[in-house]
Symmetry: C2
Subunit: 516 residues, 2 copies
């Protein structure tokens, strides 16, 4: 398929603007072959108006129909074949095996959502039958279910060009919920965006979805994104990316004449605590595995462990040495974009000059070497810059003098996506106060594992208190992500024939319902 | 019990400030006997710090313990006896029967939340067991449940001094969720606030709850509320009141360094559609009942029907005449405060002078007479001021020329708490397009009923798209209101002994869990 570079506004292609984005080949460090037309305000408006009209039909599609659409998207993405893999590799510098795996995750995610909505239980039906004889007043018949919220704008991430992009978790959950999606193409992988958007449109046509159920607007400038967020037809935002990007979208959304919810997954340094016992038992293996987690995907994961905590003693000093050796042995891999690499190197530079922080790995201002800094709780409490996320293959060891100091530090942490504790069976049982504090800070708590690797499952929480996200009550990964794009409606004293099937008396969908 | 007028900061009384609020007796239209000390910034800080410390213990109380606390609050409120009823009547002008009924609703609500949390199913446990043999990668053990979000600030409403105030739905649901509450006393019923807060503290002591699980800060000035919303220790806001009040709290909350969710239930004109068939069949009864709904509690309900729609014909003209007669026969009742009465009269005055709007009931600028205005879709679309909520016993009849015009109007409506359709069985079946449009605008849809009267039940939705609320994904009435104050946490690969009971393998609480 040849790349056309146009915006995909429902079922038609559009290139009204004059501003363009050049694709970039990270593998060869050269400008790519394609040019993409940045969406104009008119095109953004067209996409949202189409989505608004599509919503009137799409919200009433059955779970089965929407599931068939999601299944068809998965098939079309697979049918895009090697071209999609190669394009994504070129645009991101990620390796074929990684992108192939990510495609598997992406289509698996679409199919999980399809199976989740196919039957209909997910609408969380609640029924309080009428009590006509109750005194002093009868109770009316009340039936509640979740309904879709309206057209959703989605902003994908640079680090997962498939799984957190055009047909990623945000789009999959919004479409599953019954909400049309207008996707803002990521300027770091516009060709990949176009290929996946084309697959979605093909699937929409094959499954007779309304025109406008999906659109792709390309754009590099802040204006494109802001115009989309500000459009009165948009009902909610899904975002994965930097704190600056997410916060700016949040600020626009809450200042609209009609504020809307923003589900922005932003910034996290994912603390890991290594308790002394487990370090003395397994320093070798732990340091190897931890180095792997720090450098996985060049450290370009939202769940990358940016800091870790240890009690100061001989064992932990030795652990740092082993970890430093392990990190130094890992060859640097290209980062997603030249800008990301530049930010990484600058971030490391800034950390290295902080008083009380000591670098124990090499530094090269021309490449993204894995990096390890060592400091203390006292230092980071005085120099909070050390707790700002540096996106890339680095981590900071923070020594605590004793457990009370470590607890104090954890209690002062900002919101995080994850926190992890490594310990022996015995010391974990004594670590309840630590777990108790960390639970208040995160969306996911791990024991003896590594935070990188976010399973797509029913029980996953990829979220957490601010600034990890702007909406700690939600997850952006796993089936529960669907509820970001729904709201409850109560039907009072409805004749059975006018109720949605999920709420009808005979329970024709045969779903689980809570009866009061 | 004698009223002391002090702030109730956890288990101690405090009157550090110099600014005071005088209570007001609406029944006699005179300043009351008591003076209340407005909370200082220091007192607000003390309350939030106590709440923050209490949270560390309270979040780990079992469902049974928290249920016992809620039950004890209900008992203490009942024990406050006639003094509470008399005080509330004096401060609000509402009648004894109404306040007695409202007390029943309030204690019933506390007991419903107690029974909802007692068993533990409400935490929505989801379990994806480990798949150690899965290829290419094993799946970790993932377990999710809802946990409390942190200390909550609650702002009550003037129109329900018990059920939407100190121990109302917001407080009950936050305490049920495991969140301490700092309640901002309502300046229109400060003595009622004090009596109920005293009951809560007595219950907290009797059930061994941590000091700071509840505080009352009194205040009339905007500063008290804003300082509470801005305090970094507050994790969420519950609010019921005016659009201006709710929006100003929302604006402060989203501009904090750490933004927090605001559940503000604000403004709604609750459209009612009368289809022609039912009017010609039951004009007499319908007009009587509708007049009752418009004037219930002097029209001071969030769900008061502020507008209603009819097709222009002879039957509907006759209906207006009957309704106007019914409204004129209802004696005016005192409103909650002199300011509310003033606003009502001014609001009516503003509506009456709009071109194309015709008043069909009497008007008196000295009392809050029930009021009916008649106009057309064309007029209100040009003069949207007619669609602004006027709090009180009035409604506006809006004539549509035909069903397409009526649909067009409904499609242009803002978010509402409720919408209602009256029709015969036959015409309701033909009204699907209308129901379909109205569903996208509201939290609750009613057929052949009246929106006033909000049942406290599992399936209730008292919420809706903006500006009805700032958070359409939630309800402020009914058991589902608890989820405004919780967030999901995922526990990955936890040893069974370290898991919360709700997630342990043997299911010791014997609760419903979703297994993936």
């Amino acid at each position: 398929m040849s790349i056309h570079g146009k915006n995909i506004i429902g079922n038609h292609l559009s290139a009204l603007g004059t501003s363009t984005i050049a694709s970039y080949n990270v593998l060869t460090n050269t400008v790519g072959d394609n040019t993409f037309y940045e969406a104009t305000e008119e095109e953004i408006n067209q996409a949202v108006v189409l989505a608004t009209n599509a919503f009137k039909l799409y919200k009433n599609c059955s779970g089965k129909q929407r599931a068939a659409f999601l299944q068809a998207i998965a098939v079309e993405i697979e049918a895009a074949g090697d071209e999609l893999i190669e394009t994504a590799c070129k645009e991101t510098g990620l390796q074929v095996a990684r992108i192939t795996g990510e495609r598997g995750r992406t289509v698996g995610q679409l199919r999980l959502f399809a199976s989740f909505i196919e039957k209909g239980d997910w609408v969380n039906a609640i029924i309080d039958p009428a009590l006509p004889d109750r005194t002093p007043l009868p109770r009316p018949d009340l039936r509640q279910m979740q309904v879709p919220i309206g057209p959703v704008a989605v902003f994908g991430a640079s680090n997962f060009p498939l799984a957190f992009s055009v047909a990623g978790g945000d789009t999959a959950s919004a479409l599953a919920a019954g909400c049309p999606v207008v996707f803002k193409g990521h300027p770091a992988h516009p060709a990949t965006c176009e290929l996946v958007a084309t697959a979605i449109i093909a699937a929409a046509k094959k499954t007779n979805m309304p025109n406008g159920v999906f659109s792709l607007v390309q754009g590099k400038s802040i204006e494109v994104g802001q115009a989309l967020v500000a459009h009165h037809g948009i009902s909610a935002i899904g975002f994965t990316g930097s704190f600056a990007g997410g916060k700016s979208i949040y600020d626009t959304a809450v200042r609209r004449p009609q504020p809307i919810p923003v589900y922005a997954e932003m910034s996290s340094i994912n603390p890991v605590v290594f308790l002394p016992g487990v370090i003395s038992e397994k320093a070798e293996t732990l340091s190897q595995n931890f180095a792997g987690s720090i450098t996985l995907g060049s450290g370009q994961f939202c769940t990358n462990p940016g800091i870790f905590l240890l009690l100061k003693n001989e064992g932990s000093e030795k652990f740092i040495q082993l970890l430093s050796d392990a990190l130094s042995a890992i060859a640097p891999a290209p980062m997603l974009t030249p800008a990301i690499q530049r930010n990484y190197i600058q971030g490391i530079q800034k950390q290295r000059v902080q008083e009380g922080a000591k670098a124990v790995t090499h530094f090269d201002d021309q490449q993204s070497l894995p990096h390890l800094l060592v400091t203390s709780v006292t230092t980071v409490l005085q120099q909070p810059i050390l707790l700002e996320e540096v996106f890339g293959p680095s981590s900071i060891a923070i020594f605590a003098d004793d457990m009370p100091e470590l607890l104090l530090f954890c209690d002062a942490l900002h919101g995080q996506l994850t926190a992890t504790i490594h310990g022996t069976a015995t010391e974990l049982l004594q670590a309840r106060p630590l777990l108790d504090v960390l639970q208040t800070k995160v969306g996911r708590l791990l024991i003896n594992g590594f935070p990188t690797g976010v399973e797509v499952a029913h029980a996953m929480v990829h979220g957490g208190p601010y600034p990890a996200t702007t909406a700690s009550r939600s997850t952006s990964v796993g089936t529960q992500a669907i509820y970001r794009f729904t709201r409850p409606v109560c039907y009072q004293n409805f004749p059975d024939a006018l109720l949605p099937e999920a709420l009808q008396q005979s329970n024709p969908l045969n779903i689980h319902r809570r009866e009061g």
